[in-house]
Symmetry: C2
Subunit: 429 residues, 2 copies
């Protein structure tokens, strides 16, 4: 074994960073044996240097992250700051000064993946980011490496633990959204400002990363269609139950049937209770992958949290260190297919539509005509009258989203339709 | 991209090999883009050269596998023959002549992994074998690489599709073992001689491989405790249902609580319906991994079949080819912990014991005394009388297997115990 240690700079020492530092210290012998050389924590950049950080020698702490990544003797920079800046500049500077980079930064990877990969390649260094998607669940590496000889057609996943906790709570307790969110906040599953989670921004960043890797193309955050889950109601769950379904916030990346384009989207959807994703409880994540040869695979585990995320960071750290010793690099960006990303209107899906209609003859015929005019075929209709009004629930067959949303717009204009109580896509069948 | 192709020799062209050859041909451009150089099928060693093999040029076919691996211009040998010999000699010869090796051979890896790794290292070549365990499911790579910075404590998996199909059939239809086996045979899930599957030999080989990788030590096939599932009855399933459980043939690799040893075993066990493995249906495989930092992960997918296994082989082929271009090698054997493998008697588990006893006063006291004398604590007792006899079902708390099996031996000697109807371990709680 080489005795000269590989030097690691840690940018950020919050929930994830402190756990990375702790494991690097307590498991130093194991890491050395697995890498083939010892690893040394050479510096830790933080914002609040006065905070007590157990197990980290005070002389390693610095507030000058830029000077740390510019030192020139750093082999690997671990970036767990999050956000776009200063993370982007620090990572680029790290490459320029000869370091490889392990990052857990989904927002940055989704937005700037291309330029970061280019910088890594220019300087002959690695960019690894298993921790950026679904915490501890090995997902980036299986997609980039295990399935490198296969053709992935679909990635369907629960990639945000906060929203899965809220939806699971609504499902099992009958709670409304606000009540479930309050519980998630009280238990620490939701942040004080939950926007990034509940509006689907976090999941959309992960969808962009997954789609790019799965289809060997570039998918930007702006390419991802996004709907949050704040408008999911207890009534939606009741409807889902009647269909033998539950509701999950899904990130869905698909190759079009003709293979000429891809789509990426995040929205709440009904999925059958028999689907493996339906039984993913609490804050867990799970990702379903469909590939030509492999068939259907699922990866399941904790999608967030300090320790699970640190596990993913350290797995990458071991790989990057091994590459350094080999004077090699792992797989870089693979975007050779250059497949375009189609808009949401081209996605083929099914709608579950719940309408408040007048309970009188001819209404169903009117509604059915609107579907027919938009070329949307109806799978099931269920109508329940009450006091001169009726709930009319229509579940469609598969159709382009543009046709489905066009149908809904036309339904809204019918005099006999008092309102559209809910619209939800149906997936996973 | 490099234009000179990497040359691949294929040993075996059955269900898996023919699919590997097909994908190498039909997806040649994708593989080239992902590797950074074209790959060329340079030779295919078969036993029956006269068989028509669609898509494989006749001039590539040879019956002389030894000459093929000795050619000297082969970059990667893909071994999908199975069995110990001639596979072992061919792989060793391949290393000696400068090739890296991708194998799907679980029996060989379980029995000869150490010497094969040594040969690979001696010649500076790669040995990859993702396809040897759980078909298409990425499992070896996540354990070897993604979790390389973590401490794995437990691997609990359904790693044999044939037996899972049979047990699932017994569970859902109430069929007996023979009837379910017949259906598995008719559908092609079981071989004409199902011994390797139903007696747990196949799963034991996979358990040896998984335990070695998970705990960074050497676990030989002989170290794995093995019980088949041919004696599981419809009555066992009825008992399991009453406990809120089902029955699965599990491969279980564990680190002892004190960390100083490991165990590996294969046997049928009751697991709670709430456990993610309980809902693994048909011939699917799934493996649950528990690690210090990552927590609980699960990997699910098709565990066998030509296409899924080929997917895993091709993922390894891409990785090994990339390493060749980098003039590097991936991770080799990691057995530095040198943890000993403890015998089955040391495993801590729970027993579900079903006894036929005389239905008269004092029997329960006698039985309970035997448990107490062996230091085994009882969790639940259920007794149901019929015609002077009674079924007595005892579920224990956790205890060493030696104490539990000692208890059963002593129970058999009691006059009031007419017979032991079934014994099954309870796992996954």
């Amino acid at each position: 074994m080489r005795t000269r240690p590989l030097k690691v700079a840690l940018l950020g020492c919050g929930v994830v960073g402190s756990e990375v530092a702790r494991i690097m210290t307590t498991h130093a012998d194991d890491l050395a044996a697995r890498i083939g050389a010892p690893v040394e924590l050479a510096g830790v950049a933080v914002r609040r240097p006065s905070k007590v950080r157990e197990g980290i020698p005070a002389e390693l702490i610095t507030t000058d992250a830029t000077a740390l990544v510019k030192r020139g003797d750093i082999d690997v920079v671990v970036e767990v700051i999050g956000g776009i800046e200063p993370a982007r500049t620090l990572i680029t500077t790290a490459f320029e000064h000869g370091a490889s980079v392990v990052s857990a930064n989904k927002a940055l990877l989704a937005q700037e993946g291309q330029s970061l990969y280019a910088a890594a390649e220019q300087h002959g260094r690695d960019l690894y980011y298993e921790a950026a998607v679904a915490g501890a669940i090995p997902l980036i590496r299986p997609l980039r490496e295990s399935l490198a000889g296969d053709k992935v057609n679909r990635v369907l996943g629960i990639v945000n633990g906060t929203t899965n906790f809220i939806l699971d709570k609504m499902d099992t307790s009958g709670a409304g959204y606000s009540e479930a969110l309050d519980e998630a906040t009280a238990l620490g599953y939701a942040e004080a400002d939950p926007t990034a989670d509940v509006e689907g921004f976090d999941a959309a960043a992960k969808a962009a990363i997954l789609a790019g890797i799965a289809f060997h193309t570039r998918v930007r955050l702006d390419d991802v269609y996004r709907e949050g889950m704040t408008e999911v109601t207890a009534a939606d769950f009741a409807s889902a139950k009647r269909m033998g379904c539950t509701i999950k916030l899904l990130a869905i990346c698909e190759r079009a049937a003709d293979g000429g384009s891809v789509t990426a989207r995040v929205h709440p959807a009904m999925i059958p209770l028999s689907h493996p994703l339906a039984s993913v409880r609490g804050a867990y994540n799970a990702v379903f992958v469909e590939a030509d040869a492999a068939g259907q695979l699922m990866f399941y585990g904790p999608g967030a949290g300090g320790s699970p995320t640190a596990s993913a960071v350290l797995g990458d750290l071991v790989a990057v260190c091994r590459n350094r010793l080999n004077e090699a690099t792992g797989p870089g960006e693979s975007a050779y297919t250059q497949l375009p990303v189609s808009p949401m209107g081209d996605v083929v899906t099914r709608y579950h539509i719940s309408l408040d209609v007048a309970d009188k003859p001819g209404v169903l015929a009117q509604v059915a005509t609107v579907f027919a005019e938009h070329g949307v075929s109806i799978d099931t209709v269920r109508q329940q009258g009450k006091d001169g009004e009726a709930d009319l629930v229509v579940v469609t067959h598969r159709a382009p989203d543009a046709a489905l949303s066009g149908t809904v717009e036309a339904l809204r204009k019918l005099d006999t339709v008092r309102g559209v109580a809910s619209i939800m896509r149906v997936e996973g069948e």
